[in-house]
Symmetry: C2
Subunit: 303 residues, 2 copies
């Protein structure tokens, strides 16, 4: 039995509400730009606030809705994953990495500030992510918080996101197989997306083993789906719509789903992954609507 | 009543033992260089293993000895602070920061590998530090572990070490007052040194309020002392002994205790800080011997 998607308006309202509450929470969590060291704090705020689709916080809240977690309990976890994501973008844009000048429609952090400040801002955002999980709502048990710290640290580290970035770097100019490409993205983008789903679900009631496996399958598909769509957008959209430099992957001679599979097959893959994600979400039963809507949103997004 | 320092041999043996067990624990915690992504893991191991005085792990163990914590309980905390320290050195040495080529007698990480790998290795070492605190000895309560995560995240972040680095960068070429210099170092070096002491003590029995304050006074003095001696060594020692480029501060036009106060007054200050650290340690009573020995070691070190 397939869960019917909700009317678009309900999902759009929910999404806007989660984005707004995440923005408010990030605003509170990040040190004021008036507090010393001012320039560093200004750079951290610049890198995080006022832009971004907040896909990972949306996943935290969608998975939390599935397990009955209160939105107020989910805010810290949502902010923590977004802080890790924001730090990774700042470092990824540095000249020694992708050397990009445009992000979320604005100059990248090292262009707006300087390289050293961007490096330190990224470093401090990572620390802030872990600090955030230790603070906030009193009613969240230490053992649960510690689980969140562990999930996030694993996802961010050398066998997760940072490891994926390293594989990405090593792949420049080489002809990867689709399996190698998948391995790279399961780490680079997938690890943090999976952690978002797991952390959100962890904050509510426990799932049965079967549902836990379905949720993880959903998260794995959503992560890959996100990347396939990213690769398609990079080659088919334009800089103004994306808010970052279009065609950057080709310019950097990076293997992508489009270069490895071709556009038509990459689009087909995105449909297959969406189907698989929706099937997994269906198994979760009532409460999984948000996850279904989000998977569709990931495919239909324009930037 | 002043606690008498122990015979030098006892302290030297203890120090060698803590250094050896820290090395073994770090060796276990860091992913093998055979595990993908191999180059990243090799860079992480290169940055951490086989060198370093392990001052921060020594402080963790010394403070833990004071509160009766078992050495086996202290290893993870000791490794976590050392991983944060190692990541900060890797990033600090990058061309966009201090642009240094020599560290611990070897090429810096970005010279041995490349800038992007060094950047990611630093990032992943930070994640590994927090992950480490979530794992290991079962008997350590989640609430206590979470305290360690919070102490470390605060010390590493924008109002701690990373903030100190930012102030350091901003100070290049400017004439700081001794108060401004102290503010910088309380963040840059001091925050992590204080956290080491607090984390070690937290793993044993609770301290009385008075002892807690004395311990924090000790940690604050030890942190500044470490930096004053560092500044003296930078201008008075040589590259071969230091294992890093001597005279680097002057070359980078950075204010130091030596440039701000002059060599004679900086040396006097180191004696005053040592006295203050020893006085604070005296108030701690029996069990504080290691802290006393360590303060002396910090002053007498040659690199």
């Amino acid at each position: 039995m397939r869960i019917e998607p909700e009317p678009a308006g309900i999902f759009a309202d929910w999404m806007a509400e989660v984005q707004a509450r995440t923005e408010r929470a990030l605003e509170r969590i990040l040190p004021c730009a008036q507090v010393a060291p001012q320039r560093l704090h200004a750079a951290m705020r610049y890198a995080v606030l006022g832009a971004g689709k907040r896909v990972r916080p949306l996943l935290v809240h969608a998975a939390g809705a599935l397990t009955g977690a209160a939105a107020a309990s989910l805010d810290r976890a949502a902010c923590a994953v977004e802080l890790i994501h924001a730090y990774s973008l700042v470092h990824d844009d540095l000249p020694c990495m992708d050397d990009d000048t445009l992000r979320r429609g604005r100059p990248t952090c090292h262009v707006e500030f300087d390289q050293a400040t961007a490096l330190l801002a990224g470093d401090a955002l990572q620390s802030a992510a872990f600090q955030t999980l230790c603070e906030g709502p009193e009613h969240i048990e230490p053992a649960l918080r510690l689980d969140l710290v562990r999930l996030l640290a694993q996802a961010a580290g050398s066998r997760g996101m940072a490891g994926g970035q390293a594989i990405d770097l090593a792949s420049v100019g080489s002809a990867l197989s689709v399996e190698e490409l998948e391995f790279m993205h399961i780490h680079k983008t997938g690890a943090l997306i999976r952690a978002s789903v797991k952390m959100g679900a962890r904050l509510g009631a426990g799932l049965e083993a079967g549902a836990g496996a379905a949720l993880d399958r959903y998260a794995r598909c959503a992560g890959l789906l996100f990347q396939v769509v990213d690769d398609l957008l990079d080659c088919e959209s334009n800089t103004a719509t994306l808010g970052k430099t279009a065609g950057k992957d080709r310019e950097n001679d990076k293997p992508t789903y489009v270069t490895v599979l071709g556009t038509a097959r990459a689009r087909e893959l995105s449909r297959e992954l969406l189907d698989e994600a929706l099937e997994a979400a269906d198994e979760l039963g009532p409460g999984g609507e948000r996850l279904i809507d989000l998977a569709r949103f990931i495919v239909e997004r324009k930037y």
